[in-house]
Symmetry: C2
Subunit: 341 residues, 2 copies
């Protein structure tokens, strides 16, 4: 830890990036070092996706949680470097899921760059995903830490199950808010929760602190996904590398649409069902849905829900004394529901 | 273990199926019990592929190796039932790879039944593969056995790397026999080797016996794949649920083709290159390639290589005294290169 971290002032996310830049640089180095397959294709494809501009939120959270949960002056990572190595492995797992998600979603672009499937074919994307995932598991079991093993394998199972739940609810407008939130918790909350918990594990924190950081991570993960689902309707057209209205076109029923369906008129609900059936939808249909959402407050409702999860997440930090690391985690939590996440 | 196993006479594979039918039935039960996702789609798809007529060779090998490596009268599985549970989990991992392989190969049928991708779409096939794999890892780490963790995660990494090696050598006739055998060892030998080793682990056998059974499994795995690759050219048209000439059509250079390229004339090699380029190939081209292979002894050479690996595998059993389990493993080894595997 560079000596200046403790004296950092954290007002916003940009201070977090700046303050922990050395730790994040170490994670980048580790991500590169892990690769080294003898198969050139693996390294090329993995490097493409690993360097595609991800924010490394999960590695950052692991490192912050380790510092927060660590025992002050006697702060020690066990074994030394475990935080950086595990942070890089969680990014591998996250990257593996992105590779498979892009194949599942027939995505051509991610963050403005062509996807691995688009460049090398879906075969390569599927298999490099499998490789990154199994490579990560190999490293992880090398730690011989049961909490780490269980926490990460559980997260992987939940991510796959969450994606499958989403798939089985496709085009099904009868999904409840509870079911929607379960999907979000599984597919997005689980790995972020695992990253936070593992930070506490490598800092040798006690069970109560591990659980608190797991809950914190799960809540900000849900907040992130709910905000992301809302931005799919409300983001300005020119922002991000993403297109808007993706969920509507794919038949994924997310929180703003759930809210709208519940509050609109019978006639509007019937027309909505028609729009959902006829996909991919054009801009006209999207604009109509968005205008309805604005009228009924669906976007405000969904963003308020996301912010509610951020507030709930912060409560789990009450167990910890004030510190620069705690302020950094609070800033990350806020960032999860900001427009530029 | 049913009391009659020790008094079985093993002359061929059908005796093995008969003699160990109770153990295999227990594995089937376990495979069904493991499922139980709350997502109906997961259970439906997983049941479809898990019940698609696989021979359960890997579970059988685990169980046989546990009995062979176990300490005679004091034979004990630790923890009780670990052999059956781990056998079922290895079948899960194998099934996950089949799901992804079928997507990668654009396969419509497997063993005469439609593939999961064909029935439910590639999205479902990819995600159920991910689910089965991560579900297996969750159960596996629950054993808290480092040898089991390392052995299986290593096998998974090698399988993915082997598939990617094969992909990067596609259409590349310059691949060497050594490189071909490395691919085969990784993509097929590694999980079979892991199944055999884990049998020894749950029987609490010492390291030398674990290693011997790992080597045995790896060699019969390679034998199996080399024989399978050869049958792709030499099997009678009406046999199996598979079509012939798949590898030629997909640009996979396997042992018979390698041998042929090395021994045919310059002109034949040039024509071969043309045939390989122009895929998918028709029956006329396949018949021409097969007739060349017969003339140059390429099919005999490849089958002899497969049988050589069976012989090498059996040598690793020399460490063990004669027993019904040893005879059963020898029968399985022979079966790996038989036409109806």
């Amino acid at each position: 830890m560079p000596p200046n971290v403790e004296s950092c002032t954290i007002a916003s996310m940009s201070d977090v990036w700046e303050c922990y830049r050395l730790e994040l640089a170490a994670v980048e180095d580790q991500i590169r070092q892990n690769l080294g397959s003898k198969v050139a294709l693996v390294n090329t494809v993995a490097a493409h996706i690993l360097n595609s501009g991800g924010k490394r939120i999960r590695p950052l959270l692991l490192i912050l949680c380790a510092r927060l949960a660590g025992k002050g002056d006697r702060f020690e990572i066990c074994p030394p470097g475990a935080d950086v190595l595990l942070a890089s492995l969680i990014e591998y797992i996250h990257t593996a899921t992105l590779l498979h998600d892009d194949v599942v979603d027939h995505a051509e672009f991610r963050r403005g760059r062509r996807t691995a499937g688009g460049l090398w074919g879906n075969q390569v994307a599927i298999l490099v995903g499998d490789y990154l995932y199994s490579k990560a598991i190999c490293h992880i079991v090398g730690f011989r830490n049961q909490d780490v093993n269980e926490c990460l394998s559980e997260a992987c199972r939940k991510m796959a199950e969450g994606e499958l739940m989403q798939l089985s609810y496709k085009d099904d407008a009868s999904i409840s808010e509870r079911e929607y939130l379960k999907i979000v918790e599984y597919k997005t909350g689980s790995l972020i929760a695992a990253a936070c918990r593992i930070g506490a594990v490598v800092a040798d924190a006690d069970l109560a602190l591990r659980d608190a950081l797991f809950q914190f991570g799960q809540a900000i993960g849900v907040a992130f996904q709910v905000a992301d689902d809302t931005l799919d309707y409300s983001a300005p057209l020119e922002s991000l590398g993403k297109s808007r209205g993706k969920d509507l076109g794919e038949g994924n029923v997310t929180l703003p649409l759930l809210h709208l369906r519940k509050h609109c008129t019978e006639a509007e609900r019937a027309r909505l069902a028609e729009v959902m059936e006829k996909k991919p939808n054009g801009n006209g249909e999207l604009a109509w849905v968005v205008s309805l959402m604005e009228r009924y407050g669906s976007i405000d409702y969904a963003m308020a829900t996301a912010r509610g999860f951020v507030q709930a997440a912060k409560v789990h930090l009450d167990l910890f004394e004030e510190s620069v690391h705690k302020r950094a985690l609070q800033a990350v939590a806020e960032y999860m529901v900001s427009r530029d996440h």
